[in-house]
């Protein structure tokens, strides 16, 4: 039973694979057609200008096939853009192999894709034929066999059995057909031997550099918030304690007042330390992802909060942490200062940027110069080369918009 289930699943996968391959084969056919036209016009000179464009078209189809094949097996790295100069482009080892692939795949990919798609469709049509054979006139014949006159149920059932045959063929040959279809791509699209290594090293170096960079940014942010927030608070506590000690003998009442201020400063220091620690990587992000973590914030917000998160893919941990921090701080501000009756939080991803909008219906007049919350948000966002804009006219509404780059 498990064997049958495995076979069926494999053949459904194969159909999906074949349909995808049919798509790239059609694109390949288009690109091939364009390349042939350009090649022919090259004979009269005009085509020389168009040739790089045609090669780029071939490359973009090949990249699609690479991505498709990478999803189901060994990943095939993409070689990057085609060289600008035609002479360099023609020397590029990838370009030559891609031209070979586009020719081969536009034929084999198309044929195997059509066959692979037709088999299950025939099977469906013929197996169900006994149910609807009365709807077609007998002289029109069986589906696909117009010369085969169907006069009664027994003949219709024979067509049904034929359908079972198609089905078995689809299950039996589907996976092999899919393998055959991806063979030109597996053969010609990976980097030729020798080129492979350098390309891989380049990709690794780039991603590693980016990771280190993000890491450095994160460390700088933590260092800043510790220095400018917590440490300053503690220095203030220290200064006030010094002043209080000096005042104890001269003016005990005054000393008590100063000690009160010192305590306030110590409490602020604790609060900021908590923010810093929470901001390093909120545990809730790990557990529930950005959307879940934000939902938690929204539901615990004292002002009714509507949340719309349209982010399907996860961003880098540091970006998510920043987004979380921004929303948390913004909601704290709304509760503390705005007097709003509702707040809307929207988070969405547009290309390589994460966009966050927080809007309330409060009294407005939010000022970055007062209150460290907004400054904190701006600093953290700017540490990521992000942008923050704040509009808060007197009387409201207050709208904060933050853009964070989140890579691709």
């Amino acid at each position: 039973m498990a064997y049958v289930r495995g076979r069926v699943r494999a053949s459904v996968d194969a159909v999906e694979h074949l349909v995808g391959g049919l798509g790239t084969a059609l694109l390949a056919l288009g690109a091939l057609f364009w390349a042939v036209v350009v090649a022919m016009t090259c004979l009269v000179g005009v085509g020389l200008r168009l040739a790089p464009g045609a090669l780029r078209a071939v490359r973009s189809v090949a990249d699609r096939e690479r991505a498709r094949l990478s999803r189901r097996g060994t990943p095939i790295p993409t070689p990057g853009p085609v060289p600008e100069e035609l002479r360099d482009a023609l020397r590029d080892p990838f370009v030559r192999r891609e031209v070979g692939w586009v020719t081969l795949h536009s034929i084999t990919g198309l044929v195997s894709g059509l066959v692979g798609l037709a088999l299950p469709l025939y099977a469906l049509q013929d197996i169900t034929f006994p149910l609807w054979y009365r709807l077609v006139r007998p002289e029109d014949g069986a589906p696909g066999f117009f010369w085969w006159r169907i006069d009664g149920l027994s003949e219709a059932l024979v067509v049904g059995v034929l359908g079972v045959g198609w089905l078995l063929a689809a299950i039996g040959f589907g996976p092999a057909l899919a393998r055959f279809q991806s063979w030109p791509g597996r053969w010609l699209l990976p980097p030729p031997p020798g080129v492979d290594l350098s390309l891989r090293v380049a990709t690794l170096t780039a991603t590693r550099a980016a990771a280190l960079d993000a890491h450095a940014v994160e460390l700088r942010r933590i260092e800043r918030s510790l220095h400018d927030g917590t440490q300053n608070r503690l220095v203030a506590v220290n200064v006030l304690l010094g002043a209080a000690r000096r005042a104890v003998r001269r003016d005990p009442d005054r000393a008590d007042e100063i000690l009160g201020q010192a305590q306030d400063a110590a409490e602020q220091a604790l609060g900021e330390l908590r923010t810093v620690v929470r901001g390093i990587l909120p545990p809730v992000l790990d557990d529930r992802g950005l959307a879940g973590a934000l939902a938690g914030l929204a539901s615990s917000c004292a002002v009714p909060c509507r949340l719309a998160v349209a982010v399907t893919v996860r961003c880098a941990a540091s970006v998510e942490a920043t987004a979380y921090f921004v929303v948390a701080e913004a909601l704290t501000n709304v509760v503390r200062h705005s007097g709003a009756s509702r707040v809307d939080v929207a988070v969405r991803r547009e290309h390589d940027r994460l966009l966050i909008t927080v809007e309330d219906d409060g009294r407005g007049d939010a000022d970055e110069a007062r209150g460290s919350g907004l400054t904190g948000i701006r600093r953290r966002v700017e540490a990521y080369d992000g942008r923050m804009t704040l509009t808060s006219p007197s009387g409201g509404p207050t709208r904060m918009h933050v853009e964070l780059p989140c890579g691709s």
Binding site: H227, D228, A243, R246, A247
Partner: protein, 218 residues
């Protein structure tokens, strides 16, 4: 003594002002940005400025830049720079034009009010103050055995450190529980070993020593 405070953290700024006013010192203005600070210096003609190193917009060395500019506008203005941490490059930048009436202290020293006030007075009187931590770092970076520093005796190194902090002979003698004469002898010996021109004025000694310590490791 007329004082201007430049510090971007409101709480710390007010705390400092409160502390100094409680000591019956004349805080004539406080500023949160380098721009405000320079305006206050022009307007109030202070004798001393207390300046935080990290100020907006980039929170790097804006305070130092503003302090240097303030001294250009108002020659003789004493400046005490406060820093959250020791950045020896900032100290070097600050003292590059001489050490008279200049100080560089860690922020936490302010809590020891008596010492802080003494430092403030020393700077206001044209002396110099350098945080022991800065000197310790400079000395620590000069541990190469082939330098002239290696020839100093432990006692002489101690005296060198205190000299770099801006202390005069009497103050050094008090710290080390020795006589003025003994300190004088040590200092002469240090200057000879390091081949520095001898000088009795504390601020010039600071410049010389700093230049020696800083230049040596390049």
């Amino acid at each position: 003594m007329r004082i201007v405070i430049a510090e971007d953290d409101p709480l710390l700024r007010e705390g400092l002002a409160l502390l100094l006013r409680a000591e019956e010192l004349d805080v004539v203005a406080t500023a949160g940005t380098p721009g405000e600070f320079l305006v206050a210096v022009d307007e109030h003609a202070p004798d001393v400025a207390i300046v935080d190193v990290r100020m907006p917009p980039t929170h790097t060395d804006e305070g130092i830049v503003a302090a240097v500019e303030a001294r250009r506008r108002r020659p003789g203005l004493a400046v005490l720079v406060l820093s959250a941490y020791v950045e020896q490059a900032f100290a070097t930048e600050l003292f590059s034009v001489g050490a008279a009436g200049l100080g560089y202290l860690l922020k936490e020293r302010v809590g020891r009010v008596e010492e802080f006030l003494a430092a403030l007075r020393r700077v206001a009187d044209g002396g110099s103050v350098i945080d022991p931590e800065v000197v310790a770092q400079l000395l620590a970076r000069n541990r190469r055995p082939d330098t002239a520093l290696a020839e100093l005796s432990p006692r002489e190194r101690e005296v060198l450190g205190l000299m770099a902090e801006g202390l005069g002979n009497t103050a050094i003698a008090e710290r080390l529980f020795v006589t003025d004469g003994a300190v004088h002898k040590h200092i002469r010996s240090i200057f000879a070993k390091l081949q520095l021109p001898p000088d009795d004025r504390a601020d010039r000694r600071v410049t010389a020593v700093l230049r020696y310590l800083d230049g040596d490791q390049r």
